[in-house]
Subunit: 452 residues, 4 copies
């Protein structure tokens, strides 16, 4: 099997009259990706660059797992910077500090794999192949901290190649090609799309929109997409938005655009952020097309809440929950608690203050909110607008947050100010109603860790 | 005037609810591009990134020359690396050499303007604005060697952004939009296109082709383009190819594709090479569409020949020309010499051997051919195929090369081998007929500098 | 409901400053489509034509069934030709026969509804609305023979508007927009497409193709489409072609293109034929892209066979079946007969000769084959190539043809000859193997009705 | 020459395996277009229709003039209706008047060339070929009244095929493909476009627009186009609009859209009107994009004025001019009269009242304005808004109208009313200022012929 692949590969190359020199051909035949890569790097010109880059990527893609991992390891070990050149560059810099010697130092300290990655990107489909390579790398990272440097170089290059200036926003609707729509179905990470009929209900009604960022090199791959519902008011629960039998409204009648699902699609592009650009551009586009829209808001999950609450319930030192609250929350352990109105009401009175604490006072070691979705939207300059009790009573919603959902509000005139406050002092901007839930507390607007 | 611009700019920004914080607004109002840039760089998140990047680029574009030059200078002086961080990174590396400390050193030694350029690229039209900024920078370079480090960073980033993987090849023909065609007219650098009728003669006949590379971020700008004539044999002169009254042949009847003009269009992308990719992809595309094509060849100018010959004629130590040759070549000083058949014939016998010497033996200090066009095609793996006496008798052709033109042959099966030989030992691959012109010499195939 | 519609409609019209004169507005408000149509027809210029045409079509589309039927009746009764003008034109023609008076007669005898339909076509979406109107008309025809004249005028105009010169062939594949693909699912009339996964299996594998004709005025509506399988030999059964787990082959390895399903989509375009153009253009396109394809063949159902056979079995005078054959065919009445090999083999020996008779000797009153699919392909110049026993054992296949399928062969060099023979003398062109099945008969190649 | 053409043609046909039967091939070889046409018409099916249609059109296009004229004559003589069938159809109708017999009569009276034209339209490029055929026919008409019946059939079919519902409006600008732009240069019929720079001045500035109608079958051919200037007021002269050095204004600052040139491009489509649809759709599109536009007006030539005035000056019975006026107007015979302010002023006082008479009172025999441009715009529902003395002092403008230009105003809310008045009673709707120019007259708003 590998043999026939290499044979075919070699035949193709020779058919195209692009005979690689002897050593490269041997390396390809042996499936030695790292040696092939050395040939690619050593080429003084670019005459054979495209063909060699293709050979490296094809050989890698068709190699068994062990070979692929060996290559990733080689990227870390063999394709770093040359220590001797680094020392020489340091000496030269110390000898004569200045732009020229700094530039030399910068270049000397650059891992050789960066140039290798740039050359691999020459191959047709090279960008996509590199994204998949990093996807594989990410899976190894937990067990292989030595590969982190390789990962950092991937992120560095991808940040440059996937610069927002190169991304293209496209509406996704029922006239979008099926091969792209099936990826929307597959990649939806927040509220699962069950089948094509379900997808159509999210795209075709007049009060639904969907937008995605694309990159010219990955034409059939949405990089990130957002699903939008146009409504008459800020919704507090997801089920009515997705109900099969709901009545759509006219787009022009809507005052509110609800971002109810944002999904990244490429694990290999993790760490390269486009989400904030997406939301802001979608807000701009929607405002232009539908001037009646006044409110831009999310309906978001709270993925870390149940886990945090469990810890607090088990912690004697919990500042968030007192004994009485813990007693009430024991109801959460009974399945179906939310279907009994009396129980639900009792829980509500305790759970919402706890949620307020979770958002406003619970912090990671470096002073950020513990909820990752909160960090994303607050970092974008949004405001925590409302806590929605039992907003998502699906198994997933109950499991991760006891049904809690929240709205983050994107008020364009405040985004900058909110963002600066959050980025600077870590301040969580929240509506008064949210802050009031902190019972017994002086619900000051400024609940920064320092002042608590 | 500038005031009204800034007012309008600020109004726009505030209209979009993207109020910049006080200091950035002041900087914009003062037209202080460097300070605005500091704001852009210091932004912890990207909430205001796009608006600030736009403000920097707009302010720069509308500023007077002195302000613009001051900003370029600031890029060199204020936006380099931080020496203290560099020293710390060096110390850390020496303390514990390894991937992590190397990465830190690499990052510390990176000029801050690189990150600045990446952020400027966020603005709509950012890439084009940066290309124009470098175009301006290049003009200052001869007098301002201190700006070279800035230039190197531009080249580094452009090489990544304009990676061949991101370029798109498009045919240019008479159905191409007029705004692109006018750029073909304007940018043609080899054989001037006089007007739209002239352009049409190069695009519309069945035996003419034109191809250009485009980048998704510069949609209306061909980056480089090549004009192709389909012929029945290798041509020796340009005039018949461009004659108004020539008879086109059917594309299917052609055996030879002649690349008779290759023009780069963006001075701001100088040093980022796409030419070799262009030729190779065009060869591939033509072969697929017209399987009868067997020969791929250029008809190229020899821009450095006249100047070199003048030097040799004036040099007593010339190895290329003996006294007799110099006497004959005195005819070149008479205007119209080429129109007298007898004179022309005498000159031919001396000029062609001199040209062979020029290509095969004249070298730059680092052992490369002195002719820049020769360096380009030989570096791509082409072979110097034929010397064409009086191939271009236009004023320009006579002025730069006494009418000499040459053909470089792209034989796909030899490209790799040729390229390696040239890149490695500097060997100039030339057809036997060219080598024979070196009279009195043992015209060995291998005329590497070492053996001279 | 209708009121709000008319109000909105009228408001729109007045908003656009296209106030209709008093009477037309009254007619619209009353929903009197016929009177609105008179206004449209009487307009001397076209100033209000588009708005009035839209009003007629919108009013019709939103009217209740009785009103719509009343309008169709009015088309027949009120919008015919003017008898007085016809008589005058006849008199003028008799008085002075010639091109001018003939033209006047032709014009006078034209039903006024033709001009009305042409004017309705001015409205945005007018063509689609008229196609739907005829779709409705067709349903009434069986009970309303008086509407046949209206139908004939529709066919006349549609034949002109949907002239093959105006149709565009487009490949349908997995990158086709979903709103078109769902119509492929819905309209597939031969072998049902169960869901999107089923659809994908017919479009995405390398050995599958699909093509459709589109019309510029009905952009999202495929008018007719054909599904194609690329194979290594002529298939005899449908199930293997559609099997979920089959192994695709490379398109370049295929020698045979099998048209296994052809579906018209617009009932309203019944009687306007494009099927033969579709097949011939698809053959041309496939040959150009895949030169290895040598054989173009259908795998077709035999929709009239079971019904015909039942009649023959019950007829004492049957020439097609003798007593022995009838006895054997009694097995067909047992469910599951085809699953018992011995029974199936006995049936096969009788059923295939009967099928040969069905195709070659059974005729309609005007001497054509009784099978409608046979009439279509033979009329296109195809040849009846092979009878496939148990080619379709689905419930539908057993029900309509006891599992029989056939192949029609499109041999480009014979199409014209075959077509002329069929169109002229009604000769059924069939392969020798088919003709041999006529047992006891001298299976002459020419089995024209005359000789029976 | 014709031989080689036919040979090649026949070879092509046979290569495609579409051998025509013997007689058709003979006809093609002889260049007998009419006989080929009979073959096309007689084909019972459509198996060879496309190939035969192509053969007819190619043979026609490549035949010498005499052959082509013979074919047009044959269309008139041989391809009319069959008199015997007409008589039978008349008899059947008289026997039993009704929809069925009327339909038969209509069909019998239809010239056979109509069906022939529909079948010719099957060929690739058939529509364009038929338009060119009629273009040629039109040139013969003045000398060949017997061909008028053929022309009428062309118009009938073209009106159906080029129904406004099938036309597509496209903006023409500087990004439009060059092969279309060159047709704009070539076809501009009102104010000549001198070269590409001139064209660019009409397309590229922010206050210029151009729109054209296209038909899907003639993709590269604009059928009609209109050039628009966006201005701050209604202009009275053409020169400032076209001046090389004028200062463009921002599109958003414009209040007025001026249609200053409307050109039909296809002589072969004469009599098929799209002009009124074009103007109305352009008005709609402009209003949507630029809501500040309030006034839609033409700046139009007066092509019949100079000729009419000459007649009136020479007529003793002239009601439009008295003796004094004739004396003043003698100045028009001096070249350069308009450059002398005093003369010009004297002329103005007489010429404008004469122009008012020309528009409001001079009528064709059937009661319409004598000016063709006036008939077009008034028929569309526009109002004669202003007379512009010396609006066009080019040689053409002076020659046809002594420099006079006029504005027609398209006031959307009045279009319908104006159109009905003009179409009904022939009333010329004109602004009060125009009517006042009728000196000595009671300038009633209603100057219908009856009152003259």
């Amino acid at each position: 099997m590998p043999n026939s692949f290499f044979n075919e590969l070699l035949q193709q190359l020779s058919e195209r009259g692009r005979a690689m020199l002897g050593l490269a051909r041997d390396a390809a035949a042996r499936g030695d990706v790292a040696e092939l890569s050395e040939h690619l790097l050593s080429g003084r010109g670019e005459a054979s660059g495209v063909a060699l880059a293709k050979a490296v990527l094809d050989t890698y893609a068709n190699a068994p797992l062990a070979t692929r991992l060996a290559f990733l390891t080689a990227l870390a070990e063999r394709f770093g910077a040359d220590p001797q050149k680094v020392e020489e560059a340091i000496a030269a810099y110390h000898d004569k500090p200045g732009a020229a010697t700094l530039h030399r130092l910068h270049t000397a300290a650059e891992a050789r794999r960066q140039e290798l990655m740039r050359r691999l990107n020459l191959a047709p489909g090279g960008t996509a192949a590199l994204v998949r390579m990093r996807e594989e790398l990410i899976e190894h990272l937990p067990n292989r901290p030595d590969l982190r440097a390789v990962d950092a170089d991937f992120v560095h290059l991808f940040s440059s190649w996937f610069n927002r200036g190169f991304l293209v926003l496209r509406p996704i609707d029922w006239t979008t090609p099926a091969n792209i729509l099936e990826k929307i179905i597959r990649y939806e990470a927040v509220h699962e799309i069950h089948d094509w009929d379900d997808l159509r209900r999210r795209l075709e009604p007049p009060d639904r929109r969907c937008f995605a960022f694309f990159h010219p090199q990955l034409v059939d791959e949405p990089l990130i997409f957002v699903e939008v519902a146009l409504t008459a008011e800020i919704p507090g629960a997801i089920a009515p938005l997705l109900a099969k039998d709901r009545k759509p409204i006219a787009a022009e009648a809507a005052t509110t655009a609800v971002f109810y699902s944002i999904s990244n699609t490429q694990r290999g592009l993790g760490g390269v952020s486009f989400g904030n650009f997406l939301i802001k551009q979608v807000v701009d586009d929607l405002k232009r097309d539908l001037p009646n829209l006044k409110t831009f808001v999310t309906l978001s999950p709270v993925p870390g809440f149940a886990k945090w609450l469990e810890r607090e319930r088990g912690s004697e030192a919990s500042q968030a929950l007192d004994a009485e609250a813990k007693t009430v929350l024991a109801a959460l352990d009974e399945e179906g608690w939310h279907e009994d109105p009396a129980t639900a009401e009792k829980v509500r009175k305790v759970l919402l203050p706890a949620a307020a604490w979770y958002f406003l006072k619970a912090k990671t070691p470096n002073g950020r909110p513990v909820d990752p979705v909160a960090r994303f939207h607050l970092g974008n300059g949004a405001r925590l607008e409302r806590l929605n009790f039992l907003g998502d009573t699906s198994a997933k919603g109950l499991g991760q947050a006891h049904g809690l959902m929240v709205n983050y509000l994107y008020a364009l005139e405040d985004i900058e100010k909110n963002h600066e406050a959050f980025a600077g002092s870590g301040e969580v901007i929240a509506a008064a109603a949210v802050r009031k839930q902190l019972k017994g507390e002086r619900a000051s607007r400024t609940l920064v860790p320092v002042t608590d």
